[in-house]
């Protein structure tokens, strides 16, 4: 009903229509990219943890599965004790450090021999393992995004490191340093952040977990599957992350609301006479209301499509230019973004549309 009028109205002021569509697109892009980036980073991190191949993870008391927030507070020598537990095949102590130089990411301080026993070793694309204290191994994604090759120098933790090897991604971190070096640089000699444990057989995971809990009272001892699941659900379970996402969604909704509200309010002031004409033709309040609401929803729909297209394009570009920035856009969140966009269109459009529907026909016809 009255679609020709709705379409012709939005084409009548192309710049205003474009500005409104762009504002709605911005709302959708904000939601999809922020959520997508958060989920992408979290899920990618979870996949990398899974790729380590450990069966159990142990952390000191009071630490979080959010590894970046942890410090090295676990005595490295505990590894020797854990190795003696029946059913334990290998233990890899790891010092995790958040790198804030250049980009944000976790650095793993590892002992190559123990880490390789858990992971079955790195697949080197080029170069070799580190042999000197200030040599570093990076994965292929880090190498591509930072345009690094073997022999290049990079700065981390206020020190220069030389890339000794580039490995296939997917084993915990993108950057690996010798454990001793990271302990020295962070002033925590003999301390680690966590330990990855491999069982002699997967069937033994529950029993070994129980034994480790008895051996290390107060420590976090979790089967790796559970640990990964906690990391994966960080975007919904972690309160701070949830608040952040909700704030972004709220601000986006407000942006969409005002875009539609202002566009429709201006349109109605501009088309007062048209409203009078429609009423003189016998249009009911409902008809007038529906014309303006359809316009609001159409603008919102076009903004939504543009926003989704722009988000997909950004995802594609990021994959090429910054492969370490993972953006996950799923249908579920696209649907949520659509609902939010239409909700803001509905809220933004209803008041101006009600005003239009309630206008007096004669006053509207006399409007100059």
């Amino acid at each position: 009903m009255a679609y020709s009028l709705v379409f012709s109205n939005i084409l009548f002021r192309p710049m205003r229509t474009l500005a409104t569509i762009l504002a709605i697109a911005l709302e959708v892009v904000l939601i999809l990219l922020v959520v997508g980036l958060t989920r992408g980073m979290v899920n990618e991190n979870a996949r990398r943890l899974q790729g380590i191949g450990a069966d159990i993870v142990t952390q000191p008391p009071g630490t979080s599965f959010f590894l970046a927030t942890n410090t090295s507070a676990m005595v490295e020598k505990i590894a020797d004790v854990l190795k003696t537990v029946e059913g334990v095949d290998a233990v890899a102590p790891v010092a995790v450090q958040l790198n804030t130089q250049g980009d944000l990411g976790l650095i793993y301080g590892i002992n190559l021999e123990s880490f390789n026993r858990i992971t079955n070793g790195f697949n080197f694309i080029s170069g070799r393992p580190f042999e000197k204290p200030y040599e570093i191994i990076i994965d292929d994604i880090q190498a591509t995004s930072k345009k690094l090759k073997v022999g290049d120098e990079i700065k981390m933790l206020n020190h220069a490191f030389r890339v000794s090897g580039i490995v296939e991604h997917g084993k915990g971190s993108r950057v690996f340093l010798p454990l001793k070096t990271i302990q020295e640089l962070t002033g925590t000699p003999g301390k680690v952040s966590l330990m990855y444990i491999k069982c002699a057989s997967p069937d033994q995971i529950p029993q070994v977990t129980e034994k480790l809990k008895q051996k290390l009272p107060g420590y976090t001892v979790l089967p790796m599957a559970e640990f990964v699941s906690q990391v994966s659900s960080a975007s919904t379970n972690l309160a701070a992350l949830r608040y952040f996402l909700n704030t972004v969604i709220f601000i986006s909704t407000i942006v969409g609301f005002f875009a539609i509200f202002l566009a429709m309010y201006t349109a109605i002031a501009e088309r007062t006479r048209d409203i009078g004409i429609l009423k003189s033709l016998g249009a009911s309040k409902r008809f007038v209301l529906s014309v303006f609401m359809k316009e609001a929803f159409l603008l919102s729909g076009l903004g939504l499509l543009l926003g989704i297209a722009f988000s997909l394009l950004t995802q594609m570009i990021l994959r090429q230019v910054l492969p370490n920035m993972q953006v996950e856009l799923d249908a579920d969140w696209m649907l949520k973004a659509a609902l939010i966009a239409f909700l803001s269109a509905g809220l933004g459009g209803i008041y101006p549309a009600l005003r239009a529907a309630g206008k007096d026909a004669i006053d509207a016809l006399a409007y100059e």
């Binding site: 009903m1 009255a2 012709s8 009078g276």
Partner: protein, 241 residues
């Protein structure tokens, strides 16, 4: 012929702050089906207000208005809108076409409103009207691409497209030159003659008024009691061939 419209002692008072301004001071009028009435009178005598009240755009302060057997005067807004949609077609001095729509779009929206967005109306009548008003080649043009005369013809087509019981024309030639005025008036006459379209037309032009079957003069919100009937019209024979 039966009465298509009846107004009984209609009064309309506008309130401007605390001051009451009477626009209609007791107008009574009967209109037969197929009649063409012209209303003349000085500016501010209440002609347009009468047309708005008769068309249900506003409620009278007092009195009764019956259109096609339905009382519109005391009806609520929704009911008045419904009666207006089914029975009234408006033509204004300033054409009042929707500027964003083409001529065809303006006709289409009138049909949509009439049908509440459902169903198709009589296509043959649409073609007849477009032919009669010489608009066949102008349907795709926007109002800004049409001359004043053409715009008013589109406005007339829009007003009669749904076969309203009464066409209310408020100075339809007021913005037109004499040539276009003549075209528009002859078209109104043709609609009245060919489709027995009942028309009430406000005009300041005595020649235009003379084309109607009956002339009503208004002054100070009242009808001047010298109603001319069909025998007054010197062109009667031309009208009822």
């Amino acid at each position: 012929m039966k009465n298509i419209l009846e107004a009984i002692d209609v009064k309309k008072i506008y309130r401007v702050g605390k001051i009451e301004v009477p626009a209609l001071r007791g107008v009574s009028l009967k209109m037969r089906e197929g009649e063409f009435i012209s209303i003349m009178g000085p500016s501010g005598c209440g002609k347009s207000t009468l047309l708005h009240v008769l068309g249900g755009l506003t409620q009278p302060s007092e009195g009764k208005i019956i259109i096609a057997g339905e009382e519109i005067s005391s009806a609520k807004d929704g009911v008045r809108t419904e009666i207006r949609r089914r029975n009234i077609g408006f033509v204004f001095q300033r054409y009042n076409l929707l500027p964003t729509l083409s001529a065809a779009g303006n006709l289409e929206i009138a049909r949509e409103i009439y049908g509440n967005g459902k169903g198709k109306q009589d296509e043959s009548h649409i073609h007849e009207v477009l032919n009669l008003l010489g608009l066949k080649n102008k349907v795709k043009h926007k109002p800004s691409e049409l001359s004043g005369g053409e715009q008013q013809r589109v406005a007339i087509a829009r007003a009669v497209i749904n076969k309203p019981a009464i066409l209310l024309a408020d100075e339809p030639t007021g913005n037109l030159d004499s040539e276009n005025s003549e075209i528009v008036l002859s078209m109104l006459q043709e609609l009245n003659r060919k489709f027995s379209q009942s028309i009430i037309m406000i005009t300041h032009n005595p020649e235009a008024a003379a084309m109607a079957n009956r002339l009503i003069e208004m002054r100070d919100g009242k009808i001047v009691p010298q109603d001319h009937d069909v025998s007054w019209n010197p062109k009667e024979d031309e009208i009822y061939i």
